[in-house]
Chain length 352, copies 4
Amino acid sequence: MIRAGIIGATGYAGSELVRILTNHREAEVVWYGSRSYIDKKYHEVYQNMFRIVEDVCRDDNLAELAEEVDVIFTATPQGFLAGILTEEILSKVKIVDLSADYRIKDVKVYEKWYGIEHKSPGFISEAVYGLCELNRGQITPATRLVANPGCYTTCSILTAYPLVKEGLIDTDTLIVDAKSGTSGAGRGAKLPNLFCEVNENIKAYGVATHRHTPEIEEQLGYAAGREVTVNFTPHLVPMNRGILVTEYAKLKRKADGALPAYEEIRAAYEKYYGGEKFIRLLDSGACPETKWVEGSNYVDIGFVIDERTGRIIMMGALDNLVKGAAGQAVQNMNLLFGLQESQGLEMVPCFP
Amino acid sequence: MIRAGIIGATGYAGSELVRILTNHREAEVVWYGSRSYIDKKYHEVYQNMFRIVEDVCRDDNLAELAEEVDVIFTATPQGFLAGILTEEILSKVKIVDLSADYRIKDVKVYEKWYGIEHKSPGFISEAVYGLCELNRGQITPATRLVANPGCYTTCSILTAYPLVKEGLIDTDTLIVDAKSGTSGAGRGAKLPNLFCEVNENIKAYGVATHRHTPEIEEQLGYAAGREVTVNFTPHLVPMNRGILVTEYAKLKRKADGALPAYEEIRAAYEKYYGGEKFIRLLDSGACPETKWVEGSNYVDIGFVIDERTGRIIMMGALDNLVKGAAGQAVQNMNLLFGLQESQGLEMVPCFP
Amino acid sequence: MIRAGIIGATGYAGSELVRILTNHREAEVVWYGSRSYIDKKYHEVYQNMFRIVEDVCRDDNLAELAEEVDVIFTATPQGFLAGILTEEILSKVKIVDLSADYRIKDVKVYEKWYGIEHKSPGFISEAVYGLCELNRGQITPATRLVANPGCYTTCSILTAYPLVKEGLIDTDTLIVDAKSGTSGAGRGAKLPNLFCEVNENIKAYGVATHRHTPEIEEQLGYAAGREVTVNFTPHLVPMNRGILVTEYAKLKRKADGALPAYEEIRAAYEKYYGGEKFIRLLDSGACPETKWVEGSNYVDIGFVIDERTGRIIMMGALDNLVKGAAGQAVQNMNLLFGLQESQGLEMVPCFP
Amino acid sequence: MIRAGIIGATGYAGSELVRILTNHREAEVVWYGSRSYIDKKYHEVYQNMFRIVEDVCRDDNLAELAEEVDVIFTATPQGFLAGILTEEILSKVKIVDLSADYRIKDVKVYEKWYGIEHKSPGFISEAVYGLCELNRGQITPATRLVANPGCYTTCSILTAYPLVKEGLIDTDTLIVDAKSGTSGAGRGAKLPNLFCEVNENIKAYGVATHRHTPEIEEQLGYAAGREVTVNFTPHLVPMNRGILVTEYAKLKRKADGALPAYEEIRAAYEKYYGGEKFIRLLDSGACPETKWVEGSNYVDIGFVIDERTGRIIMMGALDNLVKGAAGQAVQNMNLLFGLQESQGLEMVPCFP
């Protein structure tokens, strides 16, 4: 039985880790770290866990925790883990970091977009970017530190990856228009996240400045083999869970000026995702909907070729708390411990 | 492996049966009955099941179905099963009926409230009312026909049952004010269920005439040992899932005029529910919230004694599609086949 | 032109006052008091008022404000106005208080339910309880201080008043089950009011302890001519605006044991509300819905007699920010200044 | 007093016309046309109008109606008006058509996108495209037929118009990603519009095929002085009202390769909208939100220049039922009768 500790167990991503691990047959949560609720019963903070979790919340002492568990999930604010991570800790325990601290390889890019100094850049090169479907080979029992991708990022990258990798689209024209449920904003008591401010409303935010942008660019850059710069625009949608991305790019025309055929595009997606359990390439004409993946670890992907404009519209949907956070973190844990990758992640999407 | 057939597999209750049985280790769905979608792939009707269910929808031929499966779930309109059930069918297959056809023992009461003639009253006495926590002893491998309780009913009865049974409240004063999510209204394309009609709105409906009333009265009447007549008022709430009931009754005073103490009331609940996996009696002062049970088979119950009025306010919450329909149906199936009662029903409530 | 000042102009009730007064032909807001946003443009706090209100927010100096305006609306926390009100201020300006400070005549009751000491009980007897339809005669140009009723209270009282007044129901059996949109909880950044906590959820709160209870009891007590004690249970509903109350009471039987006829009950409502512009007694069988009154000053009322239980179910719906707060406050202002009572309140309900 | 008739008065756009005209001082509705509800009281279909509208619904006899009113609003399905419009009718009455029948000048384009034959193409050239802010000069008492723009279209065009007109953006790169509330889908009882299908969900639909596309292209083409082809992708959002568009385009660089400055872009917007009552150009950095315009005739516009990609992100928000339908129709009516353009349209946005 893998012993897991969570730092930040009372945030939404942390609580989703608890939900998923509760049904995981080979792992158990033994440390519910939450600085705000120390000594309070976890189920008093999340009453859905009443009679399921009896533990109390504990502090976020990483060194002590490293002695007690096999894997630590850090669902913490940016800079937290970077500020306290040491070689000694990593020598004792595996870490899946749900924050952005080790996602971006160029520390200057991190510091620019996040506006904070990185306190332990030495670990960045070791960290594996935990987008399992793309980097599975590097996430092994030998791996110590996984940078779990962001929610917008996972959806944005996976939706475009095969076409970028195969050189089918002009990445200079790539635009990502993303829509997210409100749980992505966290459980902090902030005015813009009040029910009455979000309900019956939609808005863009962080336009041209959102921190997930460089992460998308870096990963798609690896696929393209060249630098990629995108427009990424997130929107806040009045729903709890779910991310939908709508991506636009010019298709590269063939020598004869023709656009690639539907089958050619589909084949590219099949090439990379044909064997993937958690990526569902929808049938022709079907558009992803966030509700169809709610509560599950699936990413649904669809696309439409627009002959009139020469563009392709790619669409992807996932549950931001599952494949966009806790589900992917558990998927990474499974790989880190040599378990079946889908262990504990067989949740069927919940509709309606 | 238990072979299960569902008639009405494309309604919300039917689709929830599919979701739950997909993760059930000892049962599988082999017949997706849906008159409206015959020959259409099930996952085209419910895209959440894409790559999970490959079957097509089939008709609702009960006789043919009885040859192929071990248990049939009928998630059908009132009168459907009563109109076609025969001894021959029941001799071949067990049936869990999610409609009201066999819930009410007095056929005249059924016919009055439902406004239709009962076509097979002969089976009513055989049918067991499938409120597992109360009638577990009668739901055995020898049982052929289970009348699965209604969603409002399950919540209303379980919330008050121990106090009625123990004679702690005056049932003549019992009032049930119920609030339900919209999935309870089904997937029919009706104007009152359109998003714009339900969203940002709350209303009572079926006031003094709702069909779940006699079902509540009959079952509580058994507990009371005398006839019970209640006010039951359902309300439509702008949310997908969940039922909350708020019940009011006068507490019976003791010889000295005092009200029963908190501990006495609590002891009554513990007496009946102390060992129940799916009924969670909340800590003192906690009020149930539908979100805390969403997606799970739990019923959460809490209560407050009002010294000023001498009344007790009992509150219960459940997911109308799970414990209020499909979850309880699977719980009944487990009992019918001698499986562990909670098999396939271990879903942790999903929050947020 | 009446010059109006608002203290608490950036709360939801305060902002609704701004919305309503903006379209009022004989009044204008000249002081937007908001301690939290002093010197900030009002439309930066409420961007809906962009290009409509150019003023900046100001402090809450009641004495200074009294020099500048004809009427002050205090949409402030309990205790604020009571703590600073003086005879000198009242000699200069009329006040419509949207808090509870002067609603309850018995200061001990106020102090018990609100848990704070009343700092100026001397003004309580002077204050008129501003439920316009009932107390219109006392709200005149000679009146200086109006205690604007609470949102739950307005709805609860108006729904039952005629039947209490006419002695048609047994007030000992009166139960008020109320459901409110989330704007009633205010604009404070509190965890329970976050979108993800409220959405897809319903719960009761303040069970047997909510502060609007004694206000309902006092006013209905005047109507009954005797003390009235009720159960009042508020619920939080995932919608922005709206209150629905469902009230239950035993009808008093006639000498021959018969219940009052529908027409008799209806006549009682017509007697008191027949001429009221803002109270709409619905046609037989129609149930109020909060959406049908949204954005307007209407209260919709309906009822059903349940012959089986001998109870009447009374239902009322209003917009908690309009008739439940700002609309009624403006209605009171109109009366205080001898204007047409409906001036500025002709908003047609907005659907959908 | 202008006498107005509405055909399609019981759809959402029609009912919004009723709401707005009820408060219009120089117009009144005298004919509530609704084929589905003939002889039913209008307020039985829309209970918000109880005690406000006493009329019954009538049929959709255009010829008879033309005798009785000064202006007809047709809020009807595509093809309805084109199928029955005659010179005789137009000689008697002005028509504001909320359908698409006369919006597109090239009848072949209309027939291709709408898939129906146009039955009266002879009137297309006469019809004025009623986007008031751009075509005000052609909407005069001499005008007989106004083609009221679509909801998506109004928002999409107004958001980009000044930059297209001034040649500041490369229209070949223009992408419109639009998000709409569900009232845009109408009041038809269709499964995809049920509460449980829309709530907690977001999806794209009509990708690369939505009928508002050619309307956007035609109007922006006039501004550009050349053909414009865009990607337009609508999304369904779980809210009642509101449209948000997020538009992307490459800014044209100056001779020195520099992007236009913020002030230059702003000046272009001010040039066209500086004097417009219903278009609010937001302050630098502010993003439009649909809630800030709800219930009003405003369009809020904001923009961000992304130096990294050389693109501008333009955002616009409006209420699809007001400025996107009924409000603009009344604005057109005001122009047609020489009234003040904003008459009856002074609604302050309703928040929250």
